[in-house]
Symmetry: C4
Amino acid sequence: MADINSATTDIIRAHHTLSFQVVKLAFMMTGNGLYTGQVHLLDIDLHPDFYDVTPSSFYTTGMREVTVIYNPRNQYAHKYNFGHALLYAGSKNMMGAAILCAKACLRAGCGLITVHTETGTQPVIQASFPEAITSNENDLQLLSKKKAAIGMGPGIEPSPANAILLDELCSTWDGALVIDATALHLLTGKQTTLLPRKNHSTVLTPHTGEFDKLFGSSSNDFERLEKSIANAKTLNSYIVLKGPHTSIACPDGNVYFNTSGNAGMATAGSGDVLTGIITGLLSQGYSEKEACLLGVYLHGLAGDFAAEKHSQEAMIASDIIDSIGECFKKIRDLKSQTPNVY
Amino acid sequence: MADINSATTDIIRAHHTLSFQVVKLAFMMTGNGLYTGQVHLLDIDLHPDFYDVTPSSFYTTGMREVTVIYNPRNQYAHKYNFGHALLYAGSKNMMGAAILCAKACLRAGCGLITVHTETGTQPVIQASFPEAITSNENDLQLLSKKKAAIGMGPGIEPSPANAILLDELCSTWDGALVIDATALHLLTGKQTTLLPRKNHSTVLTPHTGEFDKLFGSSSNDFERLEKSIANAKTLNSYIVLKGPHTSIACPDGNVYFNTSGNAGMATAGSGDVLTGIITGLLSQGYSEKEACLLGVYLHGLAGDFAAEKHSQEAMIASDIIDSIGECFKKIRDLKSQTPNVY
Amino acid sequence: MADINSATTDIIRAHHTLSFQVVKLAFMMTGNGLYTGQVHLLDIDLHPDFYDVTPSSFYTTGMREVTVIYNPRNQYAHKYNFGHALLYAGSKNMMGAAILCAKACLRAGCGLITVHTETGTQPVIQASFPEAITSNENDLQLLSKKKAAIGMGPGIEPSPANAILLDELCSTWDGALVIDATALHLLTGKQTTLLPRKNHSTVLTPHTGEFDKLFGSSSNDFERLEKSIANAKTLNSYIVLKGPHTSIACPDGNVYFNTSGNAGMATAGSGDVLTGIITGLLSQGYSEKEACLLGVYLHGLAGDFAAEKHSQEAMIASDIIDSIGECFKKIRDLKSQTPNVY
Amino acid sequence: MADINSATTDIIRAHHTLSFQVVKLAFMMTGNGLYTGQVHLLDIDLHPDFYDVTPSSFYTTGMREVTVIYNPRNQYAHKYNFGHALLYAGSKNMMGAAILCAKACLRAGCGLITVHTETGTQPVIQASFPEAITSNENDLQLLSKKKAAIGMGPGIEPSPANAILLDELCSTWDGALVIDATALHLLTGKQTTLLPRKNHSTVLTPHTGEFDKLFGSSSNDFERLEKSIANAKTLNSYIVLKGPHTSIACPDGNVYFNTSGNAGMATAGSGDVLTGIITGLLSQGYSEKEACLLGVYLHGLAGDFAAEKHSQEAMIASDIIDSIGECFKKIRDLKSQTPNVY
């Protein structure tokens, strides 16, 4: 089994696959999981510089990489230093998405969070998450004022009003923007018009189904990966393709595969949590690339802690949120122990 | 005291009862608990093959059996792999039943959960359990689309609309179905018409009172057991008769007695939790038989963990839900340690 | 300082008071706490039989006494064995009282709990405590059917409708009844008419202020104690006079002083929790006397656990509820270790 | 770098700053944090009496000082001994502020808490915090009766009605008063008229932005500090200027800098928690000075416990509330170990 997806040829269904020193691209493909079984890396004593001198546009994100990205808090900060995030999330039957997204956003470290919801649904958020401010202000210019980052999508209706809002966001909002879930649905067919209008990059967080609707279906994971790279470039976007090894395709053509996470995260609301985390990191001033890499890794690591506590079967999205703190503590400890990674 | 319930003859009220190697059927009868006191099994060194070669239609479900049934998660899964469960549960004064059932369902491992509730009651669910999607869509065809399993009954009104819904479910829904609580009440008198219409088996989860309404009163536990076997066959149903040793009568005539659980589970909402767990397991692709055996055992084991933490008196149904994760971890650990049970 | 409250004579304000073997009645009086400081009992090696042969109508309730009262669960029980409790509690601005009372009631071990509340307030209870059934059924005969015990008072309005309900409860309800808070206010002036109508004893749970309104003001704690004894006899009631050493005056003239608890329990909702616990114990079949002694002790012990975890200052009523399980576990363990106390 | 803020001259950006024995005033200035890096105090063996004989109007509040202030509970208390606090807090989109403030207030040890909120928003508080009583009674005289302390501001609307209420509070309310958030905004421009009308001191808890609106902008932290001292005197108020080293300027001209806390407290709702804590301490009978010193320190220490558990990034305001109990336990333990500090 080589670096292309050889679904058309004969393949052995291995229980174990041995490889030298580094993971192969094919191991990152969801569809190949059936054939590799458990992957073992054999240390062949490659010189560490090897990684830096060998050109590749494919990377993995692990604890080492996020420890470099992570930026400990300035001890003289106040809440406005960590940004005020704005979320467009939730609707009458999907308020939970707004709650999960908002909680994750604040626990990812932003200073303040405002959730725009349908009129009448505010009490649900406030009873569940008192730290959130709610709003039903429909004037984007008013509501987005002094906001550091905006996330749109979890649990919203695919309504004409939301389609107009997405259009307006892409046309007039200068800051960091994450588009997820229903907002990706609303974006479908307009992405080449809307996204390039923006001054800087956008973050898109589709799962495979949403990705295929946006960019057309693919016959295999490699083709889908190629599409994500092409579109990340064209649309000046970070395309976070969610799956067992979530890939982040960057506008510069590089791709980062995430190495944390587990099958217990295949649970309702897990994606809303990721959107909240990335928006919360953007809000604190992390760049789009940093927020995607650190956010996706944090989400997976929090899921690993949650599975350890609750099992993969029983864990739910709220458990992922509750484990975000442990992740930051672990990353901070590692960073303080390895001063040379600063 | 032999294998029949000899309530009409003189019986000793023992503090302790000693038996050889295996439990006797009579020990599984609730009404006999008064007479056996604590049961002790004496190991007489029977050959393990004994169990397999001795024909019987009565079995007990213990950790050994559920470890075989339990199917660890494929690491390359996404939430649609674990199924989207649909619950008809809750009404104005019984919303809690919907919340408990839905939480248990998701913590049992299904991927997504939608709760159909009365119009106006959605905020109660969403504030309590953000992972749930709510719906008041009354068109079964629309709502049941792409659902993996349906549970009906906890906390619903015995209304004409719900009677019609139950009828429609039995007539048109092809997938896995659990009928509990008020839905059992609505089924009463129509079971011989409705249940055989279905292509495959149904799961019924009555407590003794509900069972007697459905199938007529019994003069003792043995008679009730016989009725459950007869009806399981006739109605092509798994009849989960809830009690201290919950019995599961299968369409093939076999009966499985559960061995986990304790008297602390005699608390409000405990049955709603069981319905949620079974629906959640069905949703992941477990067969009706597997979902009943594994679900009833999980429910009891989670209750045992809850009693250890909170006492039998103080434990409540939410504590059972909170302990589901520990059960899966224990079963998974056992399974990984005994590869030959695969 | 002797056994009467000598507030009119010169008293030393001691930091420590030493006494022989047993507490003196005066130590149980709240007003004397200022003068005794910390009380130390010196063991003078009195024969244990002393307690049984020395006639007194004043007793203390400690771990030894409640271990005798406590009745472990029959392992073959279902939820109807532990009774269905009914609470009249809560109103628009005091819903919390209903939630705290209902949670404590179920955690005290009753099988089912229905809370009667004002129309429109049900969602608040259901979102907070899914195990509860709510009701706004105003027909007492309908609602009280098949109920094992009724508690009335926490957080209700002093409305004419509630006055009529209390009257009806006393006139027609045959089962166990606890009257607290606003219901005590509504009872004031009518107690000699209403309470003797009942077939069996009632439980009243006033704090000092409510007691004085019911039975007239007292010049000191001894006078108040005497009044509680006299009224307990006349009204065939158990009068639980809440304070640092809660006293329970019984219809037979005996008084039991509680020995558990701490000043951290002087917090909003603590009394609602006590009412819930006593109603929950009555619901399981404990007698009025047993429910009062065990309930008051449990409440205090749970408060002691809560203070250990959260401090006396920071602990709130919910923390008391969360500690009820630890109390039952401790009492059960003690009982199983000392079989002769059965 | 001396004791004035020398922002206009050349400054070294140090990684570490060494100082002798005691902190310098300049280290307390937020703006200087950029230049000092981490501050280390070198023990030069100064005689402990030094602190008492060296005149200064600048103090730090540490564990030693709050242990002296802290007053353990009288064991014969009931809830009315710890006071009934009243909060004007919350509005349709900011109910969370009311919940956080009320929870912190009760966990700080007051006996009872009533929250005045907009009509229709009560259910949100009651579902989240059952210990609270809610009210929409707009007559201050009625509502403030028998209240021990009042806090106004978190999450309220800047409405004319609230402006009138603030005016009335300052004119007619004799007891302890804390003004925060929106109430500070409403006070702006009227402080010299309203505050001196009161019989005794008021507590103001502005962050830098609110402070500058009230008292005019400052070119540096020293100027702002001077303004806080001048206004504390003129307005007979305790001015709690929130920041990394929160300062408390007293009417007598002294200033206390807090030494607990961390950058994780720069999170939504953290200020609402502080207002609750101070109001709760005032309610128990602590003086304004004691409540400010103890309250600000408790708030910071609880934040330190929360950061230890959840990390600075992931901790949210609710985590601070949950840690208040640990603070009281620590302070109480220290006090009991050092009887000479009584």
